[in-house]
């Protein structure tokens, strides 16, 4: 996705550079250019870029959930379909950032349709996550805690995104703090907390030590609470009508901005605590076994630190990496697409 999205942005910058250095006129209306060209090129990157950040975070979450819930993903195939669907659709939604610019008003409704369509594959990812929680025997260690945060934030970010994708609603929300709050729920709430999940999960394999659960979880939940305070309050500011990118705003927005500021400092404190957990655990944490989470995937089967060439002898794979606790009648019944997964039932 990065491969097809980034060239558009690169061209937008090359054209801008040419305008300034060689006095061409790609974006200068005086001489036949158009700023809308810049907006189009920019958002042809801009929207796929959101998923360039989000998909790795969701992938980390879906990778570690079977480990801590001791059951297979609710539907591996739907998760893959979600990712493929997002990749396919994300190139067709860019103009939802330009509803209010006056560029091609007739195109607003097709873009509204494509944008609302993209919530279907994104919904697959969230539903697979929730379905995996269902009847899972949750072993709530730090990585899974971060996944709880990701799922929560992602649902809020996703639902508010549906409002923004709606042209009539966007006439009110566009350019307001509501937008800022929405994309922070996606990029920070899902992206950053997903990164924390990944750090906590792979920390033993990377450093040979366990990431301190107590300090780490205090940091995580402090950041999470600060995050909710900051951006929930920002939704309020947006609903009240505060435009974004304004330094000197009206007095009526003081309270919500003040709450956001407090929340932001709490996020900062939480992140510092999490960072402290990383530093102290890296230096003097509890030594981890080669597979502290009891994961079935291949990278955890080798020693820590990972020896040269990964395995002394070529390992023989006998089961699928996510077959925790199958047979599970519900997995078999609700997910016939995963038949090959459940065929291995009995091998545990």
């Amino acid at each position: 996705m990065g491969l097809y999205a980034f060239p558009f942005y690169q061209y937008s910058q090359i054209l801008g550079l040419a305008d300034r250095v060689f006095s061409t006129s790609f974006f200068d209306p005086l001489n036949g250019g158009s700023v809308w060209l810049y907006e189009n090129l920019f958002w042809l990157l801009g929207h796929p870029e959101v998923y360039v950040i989000l998909i790795p975070s969701m992938a980390v979450a879906l990778e570690l959930m079977p480990v801590f819930l001791r059951k297979p993903l609710f539907s591996f195939n739907f998760a893959v379909a979600g990712i493929v669907g997002v990749v396919a659709l994300s190139g067709l939604v860019w103009a939802h950032h330009m509803y209010m610019t006056g560029w091609a008003p007739a195109a607003n409704y097709p873009f509204m349709l494509s944008t609302e369509l993209i919530s279907i594959p994104v919904g697959f990812l969230v539903l697979v996550a929730i379905g995996t929680f269902w009847r899972g025997t949750a072993w709530t260690r730090l990585p899974l805690m971060a996944v709880y945060a990701v799922v929560f934030n992602k649902m809020i970010g996703g639902v508010t995104g549906v409002y923004l994708s709606d042209v009539p609603a966007d006439q009110y929300f566009h350019g307001s703090m509501f937008v800022v709050a929405h994309f922070h729920f996606m990029l920070m709430g899902a992206g950053l907390f997903g990164a924390m999940a990944g750090i906590a999960f792979y920390f033993p394999k990377m450093t040979g030590r366990i990431l301190d659960e107590r300090i780490g979880s205090i940091g995580l939940w402090t950041a999470f609470i600060g995050f909710q305070i900051t951006f929930m309050s920002m939704f309020v500011a947006g609903l009240q009508g505060q435009p974004r990118r304004v330094l000197d705003f009206d007095d009526q927005f003081n309270l919500s901005n003040w709450i956001s500021t407090i929340g932001a400092y709490i996020i900062g404190i939480g992140m510092l605590i999490f960072l402290a957990a990383i530093i102290t655990s890296w230096r003097s944490g509890v030594i981890a076994s080669s597979n502290p989470w009891g994961s079935k995937s291949l990278e955890w089967q080798t020693a820590t630190p990972v020896p040269l060439e990964n395995f002394p002898v070529l390992p023989v794979v006998t089961e699928r990496p996510y077959d925790y606790g199958v047979p599970d009648p519900y997995v078999a019944e609700f997910d016939s697409m995963d038949e090959d997964l459940t065929e291995k039932a009995g091998t545990k």
């Binding site: 491969l3 097809y4 999205a5 980034f6 060239p7 558009f8 690169q10 061209y11 937008s12 090359i14 054209l15 040419a18 305008d19 060689f22 006095s23 061409t24 006129s25 790609f26 200068d28 209306p29 005086l30 001489n31 036949g32 250019g33 158009s34 809308w36 060209l37 189009n40 090129l41 042809l44």
Partner: protein, 234 residues
């Protein structure tokens, strides 16, 4: 010639087919990125062509008679006009020849014809040099400057992209020729020549797109364009 008859790569020891598959995937991803960039370029060209903002698409001289002067842009030489179409097609044809020669070299290598590979790769390299020279001549003799409106900007960008592609081809062609000379490309290990041929074929398509744009989408269809302010300081 000594090591290359083995079906294993001399550098990593893996079977050549494994490396070839990996490289082919890499090449397809490169082409995807390249196509996206080329689409950005085509969008820039066609978008500005279709809008003709402030009537600024055409170079100022293209719409003026000799007696008129351009009051809006007093510093622009009034002779500025659209570029000739044939050089775009000529350069495209030269690139097609270069690609065809590379294909010939690659097919020869697969048949075990080393001389054919050397001739194909070597000539392909030389023809690419010729294309680069032609492209350079075209750019330096355009009847407009960078500041002569959106058409001039878009065409110069197309040519810059062409030069970038040609430089890449130069690099790849030289690599294939050197490897052919060292006997690293032969009947069993030909995937690099194959991938270079694939890439050159895509570059031909990119040149073709440029030639089509500059031939068929020249005069803007928008005769009643939007007029904006001049952004000039008082």
């Amino acid at each position: 010639m000594s090591t290359s008859i083995l079906p294993v790569s001399p550098t990593t020891g893996e079977p050549i087919a494994t490396i070839a598959r990996r490289s082919r995937l890499g090449l397809w991803l490169l082409i995807v990125a390249d196509i996206a960039g080329t689409i950005a370029l085509v969008i820039s060209y066609t978008y500005l062509w279709s809008l003709n903002v402030n009537g600024g698409w055409a170079p100022p001289g293209a719409t003026l008679t000799a007696s008129q002067t351009n009051t809006a842009l007093p510093t622009t030489p009034p002779k500025a006009t659209f570029a000739a179409e044939w050089p775009f097609w000529a350069i495209f044809l030269v690139v097609v020849v270069a690609a065809a020669l590379m294909w010939f070299g690659y097919r020869s290598a697969r048949r075990g014809n080393h001389a054919g590979l050397m001739v194909g790769a070597g000539l392909s390299f030389l023809v690419t040099v010729a294309a680069l020279v032609f492209q350079w001549i075209q750019i330096s003799t355009f009847p407009f400057d960078a500041g002569d409106g959106a058409y001039a900007s878009a065409v110069l960008l197309l040519c810059a992209s062409n030069i970038f592609h040609l430089l890449l081809l130069l690099f790849l062609g030289m690599g294939i020729f050197m490897r052919a000379r060292k006997g690293l490309i032969d009947k069993t290990n030909w995937y690099q020549a194959q991938l270079t041929s694939y890439y050159m074929t895509w570059v031909c398509v990119a040149f073709l797109l440029g030639a089509i744009l500059t031939t068929f989408l020249v005069v803007s269809p928008n005769t009643d364009p939007a007029i904006f302010g001049t952004f000039k300081q008082q």
